[in-house]
Amino acid sequence: MALNVFLEQIGAPIPAVPTLIVAGALTRSGHVSVTAIVAWSIAASLVADWFWFLLGRRYGYRILRTLCRISLSPDSCVRDTEANFERWGMKSLLVAKFIPGFSTVAPPLAGAGGRSTVEFLIYDGLGAAIWAGAAVAIGRAFHRAIHVVLQRIEDLGGWALLFLGCLLALVIIFKWWQRRRFILLLRMSRITVDELKALFDAGESPVVLDVRTASAVKHDPRRIPTAIVADQEQIEERVRDLKPDAEIILYCT
């Protein structure tokens, strides 16, 4: 179970709440103690979150982009998270675990924002306690129903494992499909020149990349104001320190 919590917090698309709820139900029959479950969950969360916090501190916003790729939830991934985090500060860690996407992104954000380690660990630990506590409480409250389900699963034996495996696979496929659709949507969305002009006029400063070939640039040295002229190789260098939600506009000839 601790492994489950750890995996989810490290960013794997495997939900830990069902496991925690079942564990909560089991506390009723005295198989496991509530304290042990909550303590292990906190420990597992802290290890995973701290790891991301340190990476965030070390690599800044770059790490967020990596994280977005692993967690397969780019939609909830960054923009809202960052806005929320800026609004609520460290207190957002208290509820972060309840919000999909936010839970994994908040720790590296705290790291990238240069927050203090002690403060981070305290808030993150409290957040993990609230989260695990709530899941366990639900399990305890609905223990009868959960026992019935568990009994069924036991009766089914190997089939149940297969079923759970399929369920997990479905969750992963669904998230992957969501991401794919999101990327397709992005790929189709183009900005028109008028929209770009309107952006500039509104005082926005999108990152404009001139991705024409070197010879095309030589041939026509004009460029859109503020545009960064960069060919394929240089691009990576140019964008390395940008935030993942930076507005980027590319143009060629």
Binding site: L64, R65, T66, C68, R69, P74, C77, V78, R79, I183, L186, R187, S189, R190, I191, T192, V193, D194, L196, K197, D210, V211, R212, V217, D220, P221, R222, R223, I224, P225, V229, Q232, I235, E236, V239, L242, P244, D245, A246, E247, I248, I249, L250, Y251, C252, T253
Partner: protein
């Protein structure tokens, strides 16, 4: 190219429809590139 940036984890990447030519044709301001 845009796809590569999206794969890099950027969420707000958009190609400019029509490219530089469309920008120039619309009569918007350009600057000279010197290098």
């Amino acid at each position: 190219m845009a796809r590569k940036l999206i794969d890099e984890g950027f969420t707000l990447v958009r190609p400019l429809a029509g490219g530089l030519d469309a920008w120039v044709d619309a009569g918007y301001e350009v600057e000279k590139h010197h290098e």
